[in-house]
């Protein structure tokens, strides 16, 4: 019996189990401290809906054999441009949101294609190169945000300045358009129905995609490129597709993220975004070469809940705010843990 429990524990992954236990302990502490549990849960749910699609964006990369997509900021930039274009023309509400998604998706295809071609030239180094692609594009865009001919006064610096602001409010456009869609409350917990639904729908589409011939070709390439080639698949092509898919999902993901967050953040904001997202997937139990929809959902739920409740609980006990530090330690630590090849199930 003891052995069985231990075995289950190991299969679930020791790191993951510790983190889940930690979350539970935090909840107990929060109850002991008489904190607003309903509010904490509402915040957690909002964060889950906000980050879900970004985490999902990593899946095609892992499946397709390009590893964890550290080049996520590339897709994020595409999403930001998509939003800004619509905002420049004062497209608000649903039309603004949909236009942002479509422009973001279109740019994502182009950028992802180029990214995929680049990754084909550096096989085996995808994660390292991806990280630098992310850093480079963010820095490059820091210039462009200043130079692009945006003129809507809501977007550019006040008092006739030039260039886009660092943080732009979505209040006049489509704040929480998804979060508020059909949202409801039970036991004082607000359910951001639209965002969660959107996340679940995308998970569903992606899982269907990987049951199609196209998706299975991508997955086969990731599992064994030589096998794929022997079955008439061009591995270079499928690797490009997986980069495109990942980039497009990242672009859509940031639009969803920002509508919930309420602001568009430019300049260096996307720089380190890939890291906590990757940590999400890894906490869910994924490995560099293996990830499933379950990993995506589980990871998003565990990690986002942890971030939400760690902040108020720790500050209630310690007095200071160590949540940001904790976030960085946990997210980078879990990436290191996964990259070092510590495995749960397959070991």
């Amino acid at each position: 019996m003891q052995k069985k429990i231990l075995k289950q524990f190991i299969e679930f992954g020791i790191a993951r189990s510790i983190i889940v236990l930690f979350v539970i302990v935090l909840f107990i502490l929060a109850i002991l401290k008489d904190m607003q549990i309903a509010e904490l849960i509402s915040d957690s749910l909002a964060r889950i809906g906000r980050n879900g699609i970004l985490v999902l964006a990593l899946l095609p990369g892992v499946r397709g054999g390009i590893g964890l997509n550290f080049g996520l900021p590339l897709g994020i930039i595409c999403g930001l441009i998509g939003m800004l274009v619509g905002m420049e023309f004062d497209w608000t509400g649903l039309s603004g949101f949909v236009s942002a998604l479509s422009i973001a998706g279109g740019l994502g295809v182009l950028a992802g294609w180029g990214y995929g071609v680049l990754l084909n030239k550096v096989k085996g180094q995808e994660m390292m190169v991806g990280t630098y692609v992310g850093f480079s594009i963010v820095s490059f865009m820091c210039l462009l945000w200043l130079l692009l001919p945006f003129s809507n006064p809501k977007l550019i610096w006040a008092l006739g300045g030039k260039g886009l602001r660092v943080t732009i409010s979505l209040a006049d456009y489509y704040p929480k358009i998804l979060d508020d869609f059909l949202s409801f409350s039970i036991f004082n917990v607000t359910i951001p129905f639209g965002s969660l639904l959107f996340f679940v729908l995308f998970c569903f589409f992606v899982s269907l995609f990987f049951r199609s011939r196209w998706g299975r070709a991508i997955a086969a390439t990731g599992a064994n490129a030589q096998f794929a080639k022997a079955n008439g698949i061009n591995p270079n092509q499928t690797r490009v597709w997986s980069a495109v898919l990942s980039t497009v999902l990242a672009a859509i993901g940031i639009v969803v993220y920002n509508q919930s967050f309420g602001f568009v953040q430019l300049y260096t904001a996307p720089l380190l975004m890939a890291f906590p997202i990757i940590a999400c997937l890894l906490i869910g139990g994924a490995e560099v070469g293996r990830a499933t929809i379950t990993h995506v959902i589980l990871g998003t739920v565990i990690f986002q809940t942890l971030l939400t409740i760690a902040l108020p609980v720790t500050s209630a006990f310690i007095g200071g705010d160590i949540s940001e530090t904790a976030r960085i330690i946990i997210s980078n630590g879990i990436i290191l843990y996964a990259l070092a090849g510590v495995k749960g199930k397959t070991a």
């Binding site: 269907l208 049951r211 199609s212 599992a223 064994n224 008439g232």
Partner: protein, 517 residues
Amino acid sequence: MSLVLELKNISKSYNGNPVLKGISFALQKGEVRAVIGENGAGKSTLMNIIFGMPVIHQSGGFEGECLIDGHVVNFQKPQHAMAAGLGMVHQEFMLIPGLKVSENIKLNREPLSSKSFNRFLPGKLKVIDNEQIHKDSLKALQKVGMDLDPDQLIKGLSVGHLQFIEIAREVDHQNLKVLVFDEPTAVLTESEASQLLNTIRHLAKDLGIAVLFISHRLDEVKEIADTVTVLRDGELIGNYRCEDLDKKEMARLMVGRAVNIRRDQEQESPNARQNIMTLKNFSVRMPGENLQDIDLEIKQGEILGIGGLAGQGKLGLANGIAGLMPASGNVIFEGQAFSLNDPKQALQNGLGFLSEDRKQTGLLLDESITHNICFTASHVLGRFQNRFGLFDQKQGKEWAQKMIKDFDIRCTGPEQHTRRLSGGNQQKVCLARVITANPKLLFVSEPTRGVDIGAKKIILDFLRSLNQQGVTVVLTSSELSELRVLCDRIAIVASGKISEILLPEDSDERFGLAMAA
């Protein structure tokens, strides 16, 4: 006679599943004992017990006694077993390519220099005596009958050489008493294999080392072993003197049913048939297996054998046609020009290809048997799709179940990942995948390499019945006996050319000469 190794009533179970039941035998000085059995019969587990591999202790140890020189031993680590005089020659080579032959032979046992300053250096920093390494390894190489410069790098040596260096490394142990060979000839050509057998005989008879010889090739067992231990499903079927058994009897004891692989009589001369594929000036660039400007006609409905020694180019043909290795030349398939270097086109035109490299090219190791079997047909022909264009689990599973039954694939079910299957069963999955796509012309390379005799029979029988249904088969194999049993014609490849096309009835000398070319 002195007993060096004795096993008494060894039993072992994993999680309550018995894998070995009451195995006993004794090994004398200078004796060669063959241990034979199908894959999964328990041979590897038995060796793991003798060597005290960690996997045994982690899973609760074993029952029974293991004696060396009359003393009961229970090794906790393989290093202890080696110190006690046991040695093992692995199936996969464990040599470091960037080091010299001599450095590999003496690795981790390097003699230390006798220079005076060496005394002052702490343990691991002591200087090594390179001259002694050279001398020792030369001696070890001579013992195994190998004329090789010990200063050469491992990199670039042939597979045959590597095997002998592995043996030399074990022989270099001063107190070597028992040497275990785990399918040593699986990767060797026939001439290398016979040299290896001579070496084993020399080690046993002249140096008095007891040998445990694990092999699937019964010819070799018959040739070299004094005694034979037969295992089946973890049970000891018996210990026999080798001269009391013939090959048929051995095979029967191993599988528990008579194995009979024989060729049917030819009805029609293959030369009278039409060509299904014609190759002109066909060249393939495949590292170690180049083909240069060959001409070849493949007849409709025949089984064409491609034989030859390793490294001569016989594997290049199938890989070139399948589009996995860059090829050039003129190829006509069913009267139409055939586009080379296009694997997809090849598959769509009705070609099938079973690669010699099972794990790298043949399988998705972390996917289910169902996905593996259905992959080619689903991807190339669009089968196993439901009306939304998605993979149809139910249809795929049904088909996989049928294949599992037809090929007798030993597994826990169609959902099992192929990584967990034994070599023979993996090969059956590969073959099932290839034929699910209904090929008209099937290229099969080394289908029985590393496969036990039961699976081998199923695979070869299946190829013949496929051929009787009208599929043309091109069978590439290093086992000449297999080619002669199955094929209508056998093309022998030597130095990247086809040296001769022979009939299976032709004499051994003609085959030998063609291979040497």
